[in-house]
């Protein structure tokens, strides 16, 4: 009898059957680690916000305009590029797709005449929101819980910067409207180039590493 039992119990060492594996997966979800934090949102919500803001950027920049333009063949290409960059940015917010989307928007703006108006104010806000949201989403996977307090703190910091950015935008709009030499003046160009070179120096001083450097 004991030999029969021993022979039969060797079957217990067989690999897990698919049905058992499914049951094991289900039950493994029952025992959870609970971290007590404030209100949270899943990382997927941030990625959805990146998608929404990207669509707004495409709309405000005129990429979705299908009217006749000077560069008839370029506009559909820009739209396709913008949509592709947006899709990749939603999947990998910390990658180059977000920067590529900004470049596409800039090229689209170059196609039109110089204009600083309400659309520009909206673009300044939405582009800034998109960049900050993508930076936050880059640190969270789809299932990562992101504390609402952190999102609120980032929005507060963004609001402070936006005050200055919108003031600058309105100033530029007023300068353009008054006819004072602004956009084409060499002093404006010189100042902007110097500011850009200074920012490049700041970027060039240190190294950077991928935002996906999560814990191993």
């Amino acid at each position: 009898m004991s030999r029969l039992v021993e022979t039969l119990t060797t079957g217990w060492r067989r690999p897990v059957t698919p049905r058992a594996g499914l049951a094991a997966w289900r039950s493994s979800r029952r025992e959870r680690v609970l971290v007590e934090v404030g209100a949270t949102v899943p990382g997927g919500v941030l990625r959805g916000a990146v998608a929404l803001l990207g669509v707004l950027v495409l709309l405000l920049s005129g990429l979705t305009d299908v009217g006749p333009g000077g560069s008839g063949a370029l506009r559909p290409l820009l739209l396709a590029g913008g949509v592709a960059a947006l899709a990749v940015a939603v999947a990998r917010p910390g990658g180059v797709a977000t920067g590529a989307l900004l470049v596409v928007v800039g090229v689209r703006l170059l196609q039109d005449e110089v204009a600083v108006d309400l659309r520009t104010c909206g673009l300044v806000l939405v582009v800034h929101l998109l960049v900050r949201t993508a930076a936050l989403a880059a640190q969270a996977r789809w299932g990562t819980r992101v504390e609402v307090a952190l999102v609120a703190a980032e929005l507060r910091a963004l609001a402070v910067l936006q005050l200055g950015a919108q003031a600058l935008t309105l100033t530029a709009a007023a300068v353009l409207a008054s006819g004072v030499p602004g956009a084409g003046a060499s002093w404006f160009r010189l100042g902007a180039v110097l500011a850009a070179l200074a920012a490049v120096a700041v970027l060039g001083l240190g190294r950077w590493r991928p935002a996906e450097a999560g814990p191993t």
């Binding site: 039992v5 959870r32 170059l110 600083v116 300044v124 640190q139 504390e147 600058l168 935002a211």
Partner: protein, 447 residues
């Protein structure tokens, strides 16, 4: 989210990196694109293009200027001492240098799930962490990988891993009703009536006064009725009180789960499944708590390990000693067969907690029963889950179950009383046994 190769969490002894807070790629890419637009706008006389890029560039520069300097520390500690079964509570502490804005936490426990949370951390933050568990005894606490982020999430620190910690989870006793008593109570004080004459118990008889009787025991009403001339004094005699001595014997040789496929030891028991040893700890702790509450004396012995037993005693400290000893019971080394069962105090009630998957525990119980002890066998095998077994495994389980049922039937035939803890209602079963022994004080039933 992909992870870079060759990057590992820094332990406490590693030297700090040269640049412990490098920029994130999101920050660098936004800066690059923004500066490109800024340059294009400046060179091309396009203020609209430059304005769109101004805010992200200025924001990134401001965040980089506030880059933190210093190392991040993270640790896990138990939330409180004496954790009981049900929940493992711990506290995760994250300390970041000034300028830290957030931290990405990956909290996990062996066998449990992993949780990722991105939280706001400015300075020091403590986060309570709870893991629901049905297991008892030494258990591992959670451990966490922490990666801090600087202002605006523009910079990121090296990941830090917390040191492992373990904690002793004590079994949580269940409330029980009345428990059976041994056939022979001991002593002259306690919580139960005995058959010995003494003080404290119920009325035994009314007897003429004799040498040794106390004057305050004189029953004047009976004396006045039977001897009005006080030629004879009558006293009320009572039964003495006694206490019970109970020895809990835990069979720690087995630690099997509800899935028979894990009984061979090739596959681990799932962490959300209570094993037979967890059930035995809970059952023994529950019985000990009830016995101590009524003032009886309780001891503990282990069939599996050769260690000094906990001598019978009473009080809360004895209960704490027994519960702690129960948490320490575990299978140790190879199974050794005892030549004879452990010696127990005479007249003690023996409660054996075992799965009875082999003959050793049943033989010991039978031996104690033949020695005159009242023996209660508590079956602690969890409810078996056979839905995932193959036909071959199910047949083997059936054979083992038949053997076990025969073994338990033989125990019952030998006079050992049987209670199923996980598959029955122990409150009802123990209450029935208690009513049998409480029918006549100090006299057991079915002897």
């Amino acid at each position: 989210m992909s992870e870079p190769t060759g990057s590992r969490p820094r332990a406490a002894a590693d030297p700090p990196a040269l640049d412990p807070w490098p920029r994130t790629s999101a920050c660098a890419i936004a800066l690059t694109a923004g500066l490109l637009l800024l340059l294009v706008g400046a060179l091309g006389g396009r203020p609209d293009v430059a304005l769109v890029a101004a805010a992200p560039v200025v924001g990134a520069a401001w965040d980089l200027a506030r880059r933190p300097a210093g190392s991040v520390r993270a640790s896990v500690r138990p939330a409180d001492e004496g954790q009981t079964g049900g929940e493992l509570r711990s506290v995760l502490r994250v300390e970041g240098p000034p300028g830290t804005d957030a931290a990405l936490l990956r909290v996990r426990r062996p066998g449990s799930g992993t949780v990722e949370v991105l939280v706001r951390v400015t300075g020091t933050r403590e986060l309570p962490v709870t893991v629901r568990t049905v297991r008892t005894g030494p258990q591992d606490l959670v451990h966490a990988d922490v990666q801090a982020l600087g202002a605006g999430l523009a910079t990121i620190a090296e990941p830090v891993r917390t040191e492992p910690h373990s904690v002793m989870v004590l079994p949580a006793p269940r409330p029980l009703g009345a428990l059976p008593l041994p056939w022979r109570l001991r002593g002259l004080t306690g919580a139960h009536e005995s058959r010995r004459p003494g003080d404290g118990g119920g009325l035994r008889d009314v007897h003429p006064f004799s040498a040794g009787d106390r004057l305050r025991r004189i029953d004047w009403r009976v004396t006045a009725r039977r001897a009005p001339d006080l030629s004879e004094l009558y006293v009320r005699r009572a039964y003495a009180l006694a206490d019970a001595v109970v020895v809990l014997v835990v069979d720690s040789r087995d630690d099997v789960g509800p899935d028979p496929a894990t009984w061979g030891g090739m596959r681990p028991v799932r962490p959300e499944d209570a094993t037979s040893l967890d059930v035995a700890r809970e059952a023994a702790a529950s019985v000990a708590q009830q016995l101590v509450a009524v003032g009886d004396r309780v001891g503990l012995d282990d069939l599996g390990a050769r260690r000094r037993p906990v001598a019978p005693g009473g009080g809360r400290r004895q209960l704490a000693r027994i519960v702690h000893s129960l948490a320490l019971t575990r299978p140790e080394g190879e199974v050794r067969t005892r030549v004879r069962p452990p010696q127990l105090p005479s007249g003690a009630l023996v409660v054996v907690f075992s799965t009875f998957l082999d003959d050793d525990a049943a033989q010991a119980a039978g031996s104690w029963r033949r020695s005159g002890h009242r023996v209660v066998a508590v079956d602690v095998l969890p409810r078996v889950r056979d839905t995932t077994l193959s036909d071959q495994e199910r047949l083997a389980l059936r054979l083992v179950s038949i053997e076990r049922a025969d073994r338990l039937a033989a125990l019952t035939a030998a006079g050992v009383e049987l209670v199923a803890w996980a598959t029955g209602d122990p409150w009802v079963d123990l209450g029935q046994l208690a009513r049998q022994s409480h029918r006549r004080p100090g006299v057991g039933a079915g002897r």
